[in-house]
């Protein structure tokens, strides 16, 4: 009867992010010298998908009311690793991909173990592990270099049937294989429940620890998928500190734009993906409108600040001051 209203309320954040992205992308392609062509879409998709993977990773952790400040560094570490391992014959390449994804899982599991079993605050724990992950990346690639299986790389960054960007298809597959089962499993619900009210979840016999641990671990996996794709786009590995940090920050912006609550328990990775694509498009808009590239970091910083402030706007509407603290 009124079911669609509840559906709408549940999906509001995601739909809003989708809307923002569509509007911005329309402006972008309308002003792009080449217009709305398969090429423009492919380039935009390839750039956007990287952030989308990292934002999905961030979503999983943020849902549990945590935050993962190491996602960007897992992304960097796995990029460096892939530039060594994802090369050679088909079998060697496959092994390399598995090793890279496995590394991501381990990084995520380490974060999860420290936060859940070591009872450290996520912010502190992941800053520390992030530094470790970057250190490992630097040992692997003191200077940028390496290479990747170019056949695989070109296949996954090219186009299917001449129009569909392969990276978007890959993103869709990851959503279907990782996010959908997670969000509909008992552990996914446990992650939501733990983010919303950990005590209530505990009292209800929800498997909080396993839910949170799975969220952190899968976050590592998703960041590693991002790292793999970075290697496919650049053909090299680079232990770039600034870029790793930027991805962490942008993932938070993307998550917020995507309607995921930083207080936990609310939102979806689909929203975060559109948040990521929208955030990327902002950068591209600066390009088509001929802004000085020097201004771009400042501009992105401001967008980030606005995005994280969005969550606070609701407080202005609060008429009972006690609700400020909820």
């Amino acid at each position: 009867m009124r079911d669609w209203r509840y559906w709408l309320a549940e999906q509001r954040g995601t739909l809003l992010a989708f809307g923002i992205f569509i509007v911005m992308f329309a402006i972008y392609s309308a002003n792009h010298p080449a217009g709305f062509t398969a090429n423009v879409v492919q380039t935009a998709a390839n750039k956007g998908v990287l952030l989308a993977f990292v934002a999905m990773a961030q979503t999983l952790v943020v849902l549990t009311a945590g935050i993962d400040l190491s996602v960007g560094m897992i992304f960097t570490l796995t990029n460096c690793m892939a530039s060594w391992l994802v090369i050679g014959t088909g079998l060697e390449t496959a092994f390399g991909v598995l090793a890279v994804l496995g590394t991501g899982l381990i990084c995520g599991a380490v974060n999860g173990a420290i936060v859940i079993y070591g009872r450290l605050q996520p912010i502190v724990a992941t800053i520390a592990t992030g530094a470790v992950f970057f250190g490992l990346a630097l040992l692997l690639r003191p200077v940028p270099g390496g290479s990747v299986n170019e056949d695989l790389a070109d296949f996954l960054t090219g186009r299917f049937f001449g129009v569909v960007p392969a990276s978007l298809v890959a993103l869709l597959v990851v959503v279907l294989v990782v996010w959908v089962p997670f969000s509909r499993s008992e552990f996914g619900r446990a992650a939501y429940a733990a983010g919303s009210s950990e005590t209530a979840a505990y009292m209800s016999g929800v498997p909080i620890r396993r839910g949170k641990f799975l969220a952190y671990t899968l976050a590592g996996l998703l960041a590693a998928i991002g790292g793999l794709f970075l290697t496919f786009f650049t053909y090299t590995g680079e232990a770039a500190y600034a870029s790793g940090n930027a991805y962490t920050l942008f993932s938070i912006a993307a998550v917020v734009l995507g309607g995921v609550s930083l207080f936990g328990g609310k939102g979806s990775a689909i929203g975060a993906i559109f948040g990521a694509l929208a955030f990327r498009t902002i950068g591209d808009l600066l390009f088509v409108f001929d802004f000085d590239p020097l201004w771009q970091p400042l501009f992105q910083g401001v967008i980030l600040l606005i995005a994280v402030s969005l969550g606070a706007f609701a407080l202005f509407r609060v008429r009972n001051r006690l609700e400020w603290f909820l």
């Binding site: 009124r2 549940e10 509909r184 008992e186 919303s196 009210s197 209530a200 979840a201 016999g205 009972n320």
Partner: protein, 514 residues
């Protein structure tokens, strides 16, 4: 009882926490198809007994038998499996999840490893209907529901686990009168379906209406067990507190003092919760706020205390209009107001901090010179308060969370009395505390009033309003519907005006509006 074989039996159960004996060789026999009330003061061992039954804590000694077989529960899940489900006093719902998600939370139906949403929806609708709350939409988020509806969801959640023994621990304390009536119907139906129900409540009238059998606990033991209705309320209370029960309420002074009102409201309105409220409280007077729970009483107190924004109308202190912008402004200077909040755990106390720190928070400005706290003055004042309220604590430097509920509430009150407030607002201060502490609080209130404080007192307990107040204002739908004075404050008048003289379904439309 009728000689039926007991469904569940506890024998010689003991439990110690450190040096404190919570249960001492306690026995309990539960039969199917009956409602068994457990009575006792806080700290009498009721909660521990329930926790043992529900698998939350393991007993030090004693045996439990279910269907004649000896059992022990390693976790709440194990107890659930055996058919023992407890609705705890503290809500265990997850706010950001939907009602249906919450109802099946501990064991959602699954298909191919994922949660089967259709089955989940079906279970939720069934459970809500069984709990008499089919007006709640299974997809609604719990955080969007008012407290009383959440409590109904909590009951539905327990029913969805198909219990054989259902334990209700103060489960009706957050409910409105019409919900309580519905829950009672549900409980009676469950009884006729052959469930065993354990009912814990501080409300004697609820026990009188529901229970078939009562067991009174005192000091960790079951001291009496008797068929419901075979003892008078007075006898029961004597059993509970183990001392002579007389004059629980201090005498009232009689005629109202003639002084000018210290606190006054004129045409106060806020959002759709407060509607044109005018009232006045004189020094030395205890004015009660009555009515069904959630009719704006809480908001009215918050409005006076400077918590609400966008208030319309006037607040007058000593006859002069003032604008109170924050609790700090309300408690300082010439206003001198204090609010004893309803939820002591979130609004009254910082649980992990010490008793000493909690006591002095509200008065730090008065205790410090040039920003430095005067330790000696602080100690003096704290000693005064601990003495005045007879706070039982193992020391001032232990976390306040370690105190019993009644003593925690005393700390909240003491914290505000350290400021020597002229106007004291009390928001249901005796909820969930034991009879002995209640009695002490009534006496304290009257004492403070006699010393010249103006007291505005909201209570969900009609007895308290009748026993303590000089006047009672009954709120309905955010407006003052009736003023009862002196001997006019009777249970009949209170209930009639609380229901606004209509059917008890009147509360219903309000839930949607909130």
């Amino acid at each position: 009882m009728d000689g039926a074989a007991p469904l569940f039996r506890m024998e010689g159960i003991s439990k110690r926490y450190g040096g404190v004996r919570a249960l001492e060789k306690a026995d309990l026999t539960v039969t199917a198809g009956g409602i068994h009330a457990i009575l006792g003061e806080n700290g009498a061992g009721k909660s521990t007994l329930i926790k043992v039954m529900a698998g939350v804590v393991a007993p030090d000694e004693g045996t439990m038998t279910l269907d004649g077989r000896e059992v022990s529960f390693a976790s709440p899940a194990a107890a659930n499996q055996a058919g023992i489900v407890c609705i705890f006093q503290e809500l265990s719902l997850i706010p950001e999840l939907s009602v249906a998600d919450n109802i099946v939370i501990s064991g959602p139906p699954k298909r191919f490893g994922m949660i089967d949403r259709k089955a989940q929806r079906r279970i939720a609708e069934e459970a809500l209907a069984r709990a008499g709350a089919s007006d709640i939409h299974p997809r609604a988020l719990v955080k969007d529901l008012p407290l009383s509806r959440r409590q109904m969801v909590e009951i539905a959640k327990a029913l969805a686990r198909k219990p054989r023994i259902l334990i209700l621990d103060e489960a009706t304390s957050a409910l409105t009168a019409s919900d309580v009536a519905k829950v009672f119907e549900v409980l009676k139906r469950l009884r006729s379906e052959g469930l065993a129900l354990l009912y814990i409540s501080h409300r004697m009238n609820e026990i009188a209406e529901l229970a078939d059998h009562c067991t009174v606990f005192r000091n960790g033991r079951n001291v009496a067990s008797y068929p419901a209705g075979s003892k008078s309320d007075n006898e029961v209370v004597e059993l509970m507190i183990g001392r002579e029960y007389s004059h629980i309420f201090p005498p009232k002074p009689g005629s109202a003092p003639a002084a000018t009102p210290v606190l006054e409201a004129r045409n106060l309105s806020w959002a759709d919760r407060l509607d044109n409220i005018s009232l006045s409280v004189r020094p030395g007077e205890i004015v009660g706020l009555g009515g069904l729970d959630g009719q704006g009483q809480r908001e009215l107190l918050l409005a006076f205390f400077g918590v609400l924004r966008g208030l319309r109308g006037e607040v007058l202190i000593d006859g002069k209009p003032v604008s109170i912008a924050s609790p700090t402004a309300a408690s300082h200077g010439s206003i001198g107001m204090a609010l004893i909040p309803e939820d002591r755990k979130t609004e009254g106390l910082m649980l992990p901090m010490t008793v000493r720190e909690n006591l002095s928070f509200a008065a730090l400005d008065r205790l410090s010179k040039a920003g430095i706290i005067d330790r000696a003055a602080e100690q003096r004042l704290i000693d005064d308060m601990v003495g005045l309220l007879a706070i039982k604590t193992a020391g001032l430097d232990i976390p306040v969370g370690a105190l019993s509920g009644g003593n925690q509430q005393k700390v909240v009150i003491a914290k505000w009395l350290m400021r020597q407030p002229r106007i004291i607002l009390l928001n249901d201060p005796t909820r969930g505390i034991d009879v002995g502490t209640k009695q002490e609080l009534y006496q304290l209130m009257r004492k403070l009033a006699d010393e010249g404080a103006a007291i505005l007192f909201y209570s969900t307990d009609y007895d308290e309003l009748i026993g303590c107040c000089d006047r009672v204002l009954v709120l309905y739908d955010g407006a003052v519907k009736r003023e009862l004075i002196g001997d006019g404050i009777t249970e009949h008048a209170l209930i009639a005006s609380a229901l606004n003289m209509q059917g008890d379904d009147t509360r219903f439309g309000l839930g949607g509006k909130a």
